[in-house]
Structure formats: structure tokens, C-alpha cells
């Protein structure tokens, strides 16, 4: 599948600029927000940076009324958080596709609630588009996943290098989200708990429920990519601006596939650093 950049609202001049940056042309020049360490390691891993790519979506994320005393997922808000992140990711992938990239490394997926409007948040995905020196990965397949789009990964350049050394390749950034409303305690219940150390079962249940939903959705995205596993997973609780009882649980990681049968790396040498950090 190829991405039609025109359908995603990327201005024409951006496309022309990106097309001009295709490697092998006279004007080839890369931009990247990798650190020097990351830049050199990504090159040593056999990839060349092509350009800084980003996607953005400013989204109106309003409120959804939840029942005061009921544990429930706020499906409308979950959907909105998913959709906005997908928009940012897809636009970033489209930029990378125009550059002719095999993948995007060191992706940062961020949300910033804006001061200039109520309930407005900017979702951004920023990364460095890279192209492999070899057309095929060591397992004989291409570098792109089964979607045909460039692979994406939120691993740092260092982790990316280590992953490839160990015989794995990233397939895609996978995520799962669940915005959950945690029920308030009934008055009689909070009254009976006064002076006691007890578990509050409906709170435990709610947090379990929400995290499990987020993780299983991430897992489903990994399965769709035929991944062997997901590495570098972060499981975040993001309160955003919905008050104390409504929280987003967000699981994000990089789905990987094996490149070879053994995954041994040379035993690291021990080193005593002469710096205090």
C-alpha cells in the first residue's frame, strides 16, 4: 500500500522539498534531530538519515460525561485520543514515504494541551527518516512491515543499534489507549472505611481494567504486524485535564521481528567511568 500524501493535507511545497531531498540527487542533504551519538550509531547500524519528519494534529478533545458512581471506559475520549495520535503518526509516515525512507527512528509521540483554546491539544509525532544501506534485511525480506509503509520506532539511536546487533528489526510503533472514569465511593462506603486500612476493591478493579484494556490494544496492534514481541514498552497514566477521576492509560512500545535465529551479543566489557554522571 502506498500513502497518498495529497489526502493527508501536506502542502505541495513540502512535498517538493521532500522530493528534492531524495538521496542520490545533487541536492541531497539530510536534517535530523538525532544526537551525535545516535547519528553515528544509526550510521554504524547501516542506516543513513534522510530527513527530520513530523506529523501533527490539533484536536479538540472535549469532555465526556461519566456516571458519577460507575467504573467505565470513556469510549468517546479513548477514540479521540487514538484518532488524533493516528493522524499525527500517519502524516509523519507519509512524509517519510515521500523521502523514500525504509523507516523512522527515534520517534517522539507527544501531546501538549494548548493555552490558547479550551480543550485543544496538539498531538505531534517527530522522528528521523532513515534508509538502509542494503535493500534487504539479513533475513532476506525488506525492512518495511506488512503494511508497506516505513517502519517506525520510538527507540533511541542507541537502543536501535543494540536491537539490530542482537538480530532484531523494528516493525512499528504500537500503542493502546483507554480513557477511564473511576467511580467515586458511595458515602456509606467511605464512611465505613474511616480509621481502617482496607483495599478499595472498585478502585483496584478500575485501574486493572483500564491498564489491561490499554495493554491488550497495544498487543493487538503488534499481532497485526506479525511481531515476535514488543520492546521498550511504557505504560503511562496521563491525567490530562479531565479531573481526578478520569485518566488516560496509554501503552506504547516498538514491535520487533527476528532477523536471525540466535540473538547473542558479545559480552559487554566492564568499565569504570571517570565521570560522576
Amino acid at each position: 500500500m502506498t500513502i497518498d500524501p495529497n489526502a493527508l493535507g501536506i502542502p505541495q511545497d513540502a512535498l517538493r522539498r521532500l522530493s528534492a531531498m531524495r538521496p542520490g540527487q545533487a541536492t541531497s542533504m539530510f536534517t535530523s534531530d538525532l544526537s551525535v551519538n545516535e547519528f553515528l550509531l544509526v550510521r554504524e547500524a547501516g542506516f543513513r538519515p534522510l530527513g527530520l519528519v513530523f506529523g501533527s494534529s490539533i484536536y479538540h478533545v472535549g469532555f465526556q460525561a461519566g456516571r458519577w458512581s460507575k467504573n467505565q471506559e470513556m469510549t468517546t475520549l479513548s477514540g479521540a485520543m487514538y484518532h488524533a495520535r493516528e493522524l499525527a503518526m500517519t502524516r509523519m509516515e507519509a512524509e517519510a514515504d515521500v523521502l523514500g525512507a525504509d523507516g523512522v527512528v527515534a520517534v517522539r509521540l507527544e501531546i501538549e494541551f494548548k493555552e490558547f483554546g479550551s480543550d485543544l491539544a496538539e498531538f505531534t509525532a517527530v522522528g528521523t527518516a532513515v534508509k538502509a544501506d542494503t535493500a534487504a534485511a539479513p533475513d532476506g525480506f525488506g525492512w518495511k512491515p506488512n503494511t508497506g509503509k516505513p517502519f517506525t520506532s520510538d527507540l533511541s539511536g542507541q537502543d536501535f543499534w543494540t536491537l539490530l546487533q542482537a538480530g532484531y528489526a523494528p516493525l512499528g510503533l504500537v500503542m493502546g489507549t483507554c480513557v477511564y472514569h473511576i467511580a467515586h465511593q458511595k458515602f456509606s462506603q467511605s464512611f465505613s472505611n474511616i480509621g481502617q486500612n482496607v483495599e478499595i476493591p472498585q478502585f483496584t478493579e478500575a485501574l486493572y481494567d483500564a491498564r489491561e484494556l490499554a495493554m491488550s490494544r497495544m498487543q493487538a496492534e503488534g499481532e497485526a504486524l506479525h511481531a515476535e514481541g514488543i520492546v521498550g514498552v511504557n505504560l503511562l497514566s496521563l491525567p490530562h485535564r479531565w479531573g481526578g477521576h478520569t485518566t488516560e492509560f496509554f501503552a506504547v512500545g516498538t514491535a520487533v521481528r527476528p532477523l536471525r535465529a540466535d540473538h547473542s551479543i558479545p559480552t559487554p566489557q566492564l568499565m569504570l567511568p571517570l565521570a560522576d554522571r
Binding site: 544526537s35 479538540h60 483554546g117 480543550d119 496538539e122 568499565m271 567511568p273
Partner: protein
């Protein structure tokens, strides 16, 4: 030496004294200085460039709405705030040029670990300061590859000594500090209005377009500038975005977005006779 440099007498005196006495100062940290030394870079003096500038006229060419047939789309116009963007660029450019002048008078090849700060002094006055450590290249300078015996323009980088050393060991050289600043405005039309007040959660396409446009614009400027300076790539070090609203008249609201991107241009150079650096080793730090 002093012609056209625009440096005040006190700066000229300091530089003259430093270059006569040969005292060597720098702003480098110990790891930064040691690793720079490993590739033959030696610090010769700390240098500064500074300008206080009054930015009183931002430019105004409307919000791009009226000439657009009152249509909803593509109402951003980049031309309108050019006086402001030019003024800010002038601030950075002058600070960096004065920094380079001090370094050149010391006989430096380049300036590393450059720190740029902008302080708002009130009443539309802004101070732009660039601080850095002027350095000379050692063996690297004496004719290896494409590096001439003396650099006509000092190379500039925000990267600390360790990063410069790593780049040089792998055949890359920092060339210059490049940056892009872009500012755009967008009128809040009925579409923006309805999207932000809707009962359903949805994308506010006008604002997305505004911020995406300024980011792309600043990336385009960075790339073009680096290309002009002969760099083969840019390592972006900072990237910021600011969005705010203004209400020029009753019931008329616009949003503005400003993106700034700073980075170091790098260029690859052949290193005949220099052995390739060893492949990265696996270490486990004990701490």
C-alpha cells in the same frame, strides 16, 4: 583587523591582550576539553558576541482572510510578519558574527560549545548573546583531506567537545550554526469556530495546518541555509513552537504560530591515511 567588525573598544582590547599574552581560556567542561584534545583541538580563548535590539515593528499584512474570497482554506500568509522575522534573524546573525570576529582576531579555526540566549529586557528590547570557546585545529588542520591550512571563516557549532571529537573521528566536520524562524497567522473562521465548540471530539484542521506550515517553513529555511553554507546535513539541537491568539478588532480573532529550529551543519570529508575508528564496543559501566 578591527575594520568593519563592529566590536566595541573594550572587546578589541581584551582580544588584543589575550592574543599578545597567549593566555588560554575556555568555557569547556573537563570532559569536553579532554575529548576535544583527543582529536587535536585546543582551546585558545572564550569569545562572545552580543547585541541589544529594539524590535518595535512586527509587520502587519492582515490575516490573509480577506483576499481569499472569505473561503475557509489556506488562509496563512508568511509574508506578513517578515519585518519581525528579519529583525530576530538580524539579532542572532549579529551576535554570531561578532562572536566569529573575536575568534578570528585570536587566530582561531572555529568555535565549539556555543550557547545562544535571548533575554527580553522589556519595552520591545531584546538582548542576543552568543558565548563560545574559540579553538584551533591540530593535525586535522594541517592539510588532511579537504580541510585547508587556515579556515577563512571559523566553523561554529553548539555541540560540546565530546560530540565534535566523535564526529571528527568518524569523518564529519561541523561547519556552521544554522537556524530557521517562521511565523504565520491564521484567521479564526466559522470552521475553526465550529470545530472547537463542537460536542464531538474532532480535529481542528485550521490550527493543524497553521502549526504544520510554520514547522515545515522553519525546516525548509534550515535546510536551505545549510545548503548555502555547504553542509551535507544538519543535526537539529533545539526546536520550539509557540502559538498565541490576538484580537485585532471586536469579533475578529486570529491565531499566530512561531517555530524556531536550531542546528549544526555537518559535512563529511575524506580522511586518507587515517585508520577507521574501531567499531563501537559494548561496555557495561560500573556504578
Amino acid at each position: 583587523m578591527t575594520a568593519g567588525s563592529g566590536l566595541p573598544q573594550i572587546a578589541l582590547d581584551r582580544i588584543a591582550r589575550a592574543s599578545a599574552s597567549g593566555v588560554r581560556t575556555s568555557l569547556l567542561s573537563v570532559p569536553s576539553a579532554v575529548s576535544a584534545h583527543a582529536v587535536g583541538i585546543s582551546p585558545i580563548g572564550e569569545v562572545m558576541g552580543c547585541i541589544v535590539q529594539h524590535i518595535g515593528w512586527q509587520g502587519w499584512a492582515g490575516c490573509g482572510y480577506w483576499g481569499n474570497g472569505f473561503g475557509q482554506v489556506r488562509s496563512t500568509s508568511f509574508g506578513s510578519y517578515q519585518p519581525y522575522v528579519d529583525a530576530v534573524r538580524h539579532g542572532y546573525d549579529t551576535a554570531l558574527a561578532r562572536l566569529s570576529d573575536e575568534a578570528r582576531m585570536l587566530g582561531a579555526d572555529g568555535i565549539i560549545d556555543v550557547r545562544i540566549t535571548v533575554t527580553h529586557l522589556g519595552r520591545d528590547n531584546h538582548e542576543f548573546v552568543a558565548l563560545g570557546s574559540a579553538v584551533r585545529l591540530g593535525d586535522e588542520r594541517s592539510g588532511i583531506g579537504n580541510i585547508p591550512k587556515a579556515l577563512p571563516v571559523p566553523f561554529l557549532t553548539e555541540l560540546p567537545g565530546a560530540d565534535v571529537a566523535k564526529l571528527m573521528l568518524h569523518g564529519w566536520m561541523p561547519t556552521s550554526i544554522v537556524y530557521g524562524i517562521a511565523l504565520a497567522i491564521r484567521h479564526d473562521d466559522w470552521m475553526t469556530y465550529s470545530q472547537t465548540r463542537s460536542w464531538t471530539n474532532q480535529e481542528v484542521s485550521g490550527f493543524t495546518e497553521l502549526t504544520s506550515n510554520v514547522r515545515r517553513q522553519s525546516r525548509r529555511i534550515v535546510t536551505a541555509q545549510a545548503g548555502q553554507k555547504g553542509a551535507g546535513g544538519v543535526l537539529i539541537t533545539t526546536s520550539t513552537m509557540r502559538v498565541w491568539e490576538q484580537e485585532p478588532s471586536d469579533g475578529h480573532r486570529d491565531h499566530l504560530a512561531e517555530a524556531r529550529m536550531f542546528g549544526t551543519g555537518v559535512v563529511q570529508f575524506p580522511r586518507p591515511g587515517v585508520p577507521k575508528p574501531p567499531r563501537t564496543l559494548n561496555f557495561l559501566p560500573l556504578r
